[in-house]
């Protein structure tokens, strides 16, 4: 490869990995709740809360030295995400409110509150921006270090390693700790877990809070890693990426390696169809972006349909050997 090609290839890979960081973390947010038998559609809200808190922590405390400053911003944002997710967990644990409803409501609540904060005349709007609804920029010390590529051209930041670490933490917590054991037990069968002496309500709360923690972390890393400031469009559209975490978790089957691979796939799809990478005269980026969504939908659809494989398998047997392979019907427990 020549220099220029090499350069643009590196740039594209950096962009893909930056997107993958977000997808890994929002995927983990969905996956962790899934393991507890909960469906966290609230990644979007938890992500927004995380990015607003992360941003503001990055703007304040500019006198701190870089490492504590970044840590402070990240921890505060993760906690904010955990609280936002924890509300849904708490409601599920105490009054039994369905987490699908509560997380959706929390998503929109977070979206509008953030729009107010960031928007024109809002408390976080940069006074120097005039009529433009945009916040102040994160202070230089709080920006994540870029270790590959140039910081000006949005190179790959160390958030990538944080995401990788999060994958390991996810596995460790689920596979090697009491909390993880209990969460999985509740996810397998809440009644059996209760009978076994596990506090189901407590685990619902914990699982949602930890889920929210991952999503909040994603918000903080994005804002400290490459967005640096928030505007209305970022709040209202970029958070859709958080929604893609659902597809990532489903395709990755809630396993760390699966989530990693799935997020690379979706990140590449997103990056490859972005306005920056497509020549509008060849393929309109708006069309391509929607094609990505269709592909996403198809992937999720077919991932869910494992029985389709068995059907196809049987069909092949039938055609080749003339007799269907006996597949014992899966027994679905009633009650």
């Amino acid at each position: 490869m020549h220099g220029a090609e090499r350069f643009s290839a590196a740039l594209n890979l950096q962009q893909t990995l930056i997107l993958a960081v977000t997808l890994i973390l929002t995927g983990l947010a969905v996956a962790f709740a899934f393991r507890c038998g909960l469906f966290n559609i609230g990644g979007q809200g938890q992500y927004i809360v995380g990015s607003v808190v992360g941003l503001q922590m990055g703007v304040w405390f500019s006198s701190l030295s870089p490492v504590p400053h970044v840590l402070l911003a990240i921890v505060a944002a993760s906690l904010a995400g955990a609280i936002w997710g924890g509300i849904a967990g708490l409601l599920r644990a105490t009054v039994g409110a369905h987490e699908v409803i509560t997380t959706i409501m929390l998503n929109w609540t977070a979206l509008w509150i953030a729009s107010y904060l960031v928007g024109f005349g809002g408390p976080l709007q940069d006074p120097r921006a005039g009529a433009v609804p945009v916040t102040k920029e994160v202070s230089p010390g709080a920006k994540l270090h870029v270790f590959w590529g140039s910081a000006v051209l949005q190179g790959l930041h160390i958030g990538f390693f944080i995401a990788l670490a999060a994958l390991v933490v996810y596995w460790l917590v689920l596979a090697r700790t009491t909390v993880g054991y209990e969460v999985r037990a509740v996810g397998f069968n809440a009644e059996a877990a209760r009978y076994g002496g596990i506090d189901v309500a407590r685990n619902y709360f914990l699982a949602m809070a930890i889920s929210g923690l991952f999503a909040g972390l994603a918000g903080a890393i994005d804002v400290l890693g490459w967005q640096f400031r928030l505007d209305l469009t970022t709040v209202q559209t970029a958070s859709q990426i958080a929604f893609m975490g659902i597809a990532v978790a489903l395709l990755g089957r809630n396993t760390p390696i699966g989530i990693f691979l799935a997020s690379i796939l979706f990140a590449a799809l997103l990056n490859g169809t972005s306005t920056r990478n497509l020549d509008p005269s060849i393929f309109k980026p708006e069309l391509a972006g929607n094609l990505t969504r269709i592909i996403q939908g198809l992937v999720v659809l077919f991932v869910g349909a494992d029985l389709l494989i068995i059907y196809l398998w049987r069909l092949r047997r039938k055609l080749k050997l003339g007799r269907p392979k006996a597949v014992p019907p899966r027994e679905v427990p009633q009650e």
């Binding site: 469906f39 559609i41 409601l91 009054v95 039994g96 409110a97 369905h98 699908v100 409803i101 509560t102 959706i104 409501m105 929390l106 998503n107 929109w108 609540t109 979206l111 509008w112 509150i113 729009s115 107010y116 928007g119 005349g121 809002g122 659902i246 597809a247 489903l250 309109k284 708006e286 069309l287 972006g289 929607n290 094609l291 990505t292 969504r293 269709i294 592909i295 996403q296 939908g297 198809l298 992937v299 999720v300 659809l301 991932v303 869910g304 349909a305 494992d306 029985l307 389709l308 059907y311 019907p329 899966r330 027994e331 679905v332 009633q334 009650e335």
Partner: protein, 411 residues
């Protein structure tokens, strides 16, 4: 366990008597406390809402003490909200109040906001009552919104839009049905996938067909229905109110109300409804008596798609008269919430849709209060916060159909 007939009668009687009834009365008092401070009554003394709100709190506390925890605390919350709202309203200037609270316009707007939710929630009811979780309502609405607009554009008539929109929603629902019934995929996974598909398909076609110009301006819309006689209803004030509130509503608003009654009758008073519900509660038993579980579920899910799509058609052809990408903006999910909130019953879901519609209609008006214009965006969160409080406080646990979410394996 079968309860003897007397017990059932007692249960029914005791449901509203005693602490529970008192708590509901308390909730009503809390609302009245706020209402009195608003036009047309416009009570200006702070004492009135405070005293009535305090009464609501006391009743709630008593009910909570007597064991009716949730309605009791609901009454306490209503009382506090009544006092706070009442104090705010008595402090505000009368012209401001009149600008915010116009009951007739609020009623009309509430119904308008509730209509798409009603369609989708009732659609969802058919699906979920038959035992198939339908998280894809959002996508089905979106299909209806786009294909309704496209169909109306192509056939140059709104009827064509209605039919094509509903068919598109039904087609998407059929995909969901095939994967979740035949292939026994996880219904939530399949529903999520269907949402992505709808977002992509409508977005792609919209960009491809209409591009940056958007849907044509002369899109044939669903007509409004005018009832001239309403303004002649005897007392002058009532007549004007009725005319303003109900005189110029869109045809589809009335359709949604009709659908409400029809779906209630079908679901709870006919053999078809009994079949749907039995398949959703105990598919094996239904199978044993000769009901085709797959057949019923296919029909129910496809119907739900068509109904949800009608909600989408209302958005594009009855409400804003154009289509834009992802224009449903989460309404399908809210309809799902309304369905769960309304305990999988048509009137319950409609009530939840009305609550949500009222909050949506009310919130933008708060901007008219002097000095509050800046908080405009913040008020948009109000419907969601209210729903959250309502779900958490008053309603709580809803019990879904027993077999919902479980694939059925034929034997």
């Amino acid at each position: 366990m079968i309860a003897p007939a007397e017990t059932l009668v007692q249960l029914r009687r005791s449901r509203w008597a005693g602490p529970r009834g008192v708590a509901v009365f308390g909730i009503a008092l809390g609302i009245v406390a706020f209402w009195l401070a608003l036009p047309p009554v416009t009570e200006r003394r702070v004492v009135v809402p405070v005293v009535i709100g305090a009464a609501a709190i006391l009743l709630g506390l008593w009910a909570a003490y007597r064991g009716e925890l949730r309605p009791g605390w609901g009454a306490v919350a209503a009382g506090i909200l009544g006092i706070v709202g009442g104090i705010f309203a008595t402090r505000a200037a009368v012209p401001h109040l009149d600008a915010v609270i116009t009951w007739s316009a609020l009623t009309a707007a509430t119904l308008r906001f509730a209509t798409p939710l009603t369609f989708a929630a009732i659609g969802g009811m058919f699906s979920e009552r038959s035992g198939v979780v339908n998280i894809g309502l959002e996508g089905m609405m979106l299909m209806g919104a786009f294909f309704g607009a496209w169909g109306a554009d192509r056939t140059s008539s709104w009827v064509g839009g209605l039919v094509i929109g509903a068919a598109a929603g039904a087609a998407l629902a059929f995909v969901h049905a095939f994967f979740s019934i035949q292939l026994r995929a996880d219904q939530i996974v399949s529903g999520t996938a269907v949402n992505f598909l709808a977002l992509g398909i409508t977005g792609y076609l919209f960009q491809d067909i209409y591009g940056n110009n958007g849907t044509p301006d002369n899109l044939p819309g669903v007509p409004d229905v005018h009832f001239g006689f309403l303004s002649h209803v005897p007392p002058q004030g009532l007549g004007t109110f009725l005319d303003d509130a109900f005189g110029g509503l869109n045809l589809m608003v009335w359709l949604s109300l009709a659908l409400l009654v029809v779906s209630y009758v079908v679901m709870f008073k006919t053999p078809i409804g009994l079949r749907i519900r039995s398949v959703g509660e105990h598919p094996r038993a239904a199978d044993t008596v000769g009901i085709s579980v797959y057949g019923v579920r296919y029909a129910a899910v496809t119907t739900s798609g068509a109904l949800a799509a009608l909600g989408g058609v209302f958005l594009s052809l009855g409400f804003v008269h154009s289509f834009s990408e992802n224009m449903t903006a989460g309404r399908g999910f809210i309809a799902l919430a309304a369905l769960i909130f309304g305990r999988w019953r048509p009137f319950g879901a409609f009530g939840a849709a009305l609550l949500f519609g009222f909050a949506s209609a009310f919130a933008p008006r708060l901007e008219n209060v002097e000095g509050w214009a800046n908080y405009g965006t913040l008020f948009q969160a109000l419907p969601y916060v209210l729903t959250l409080i309502a779900v958490a406080g008053v309603i709580g646990r809803s019990i879904p159909p027993a077999a919902v979410g479980r694939p059925y394996v034929k034997q």
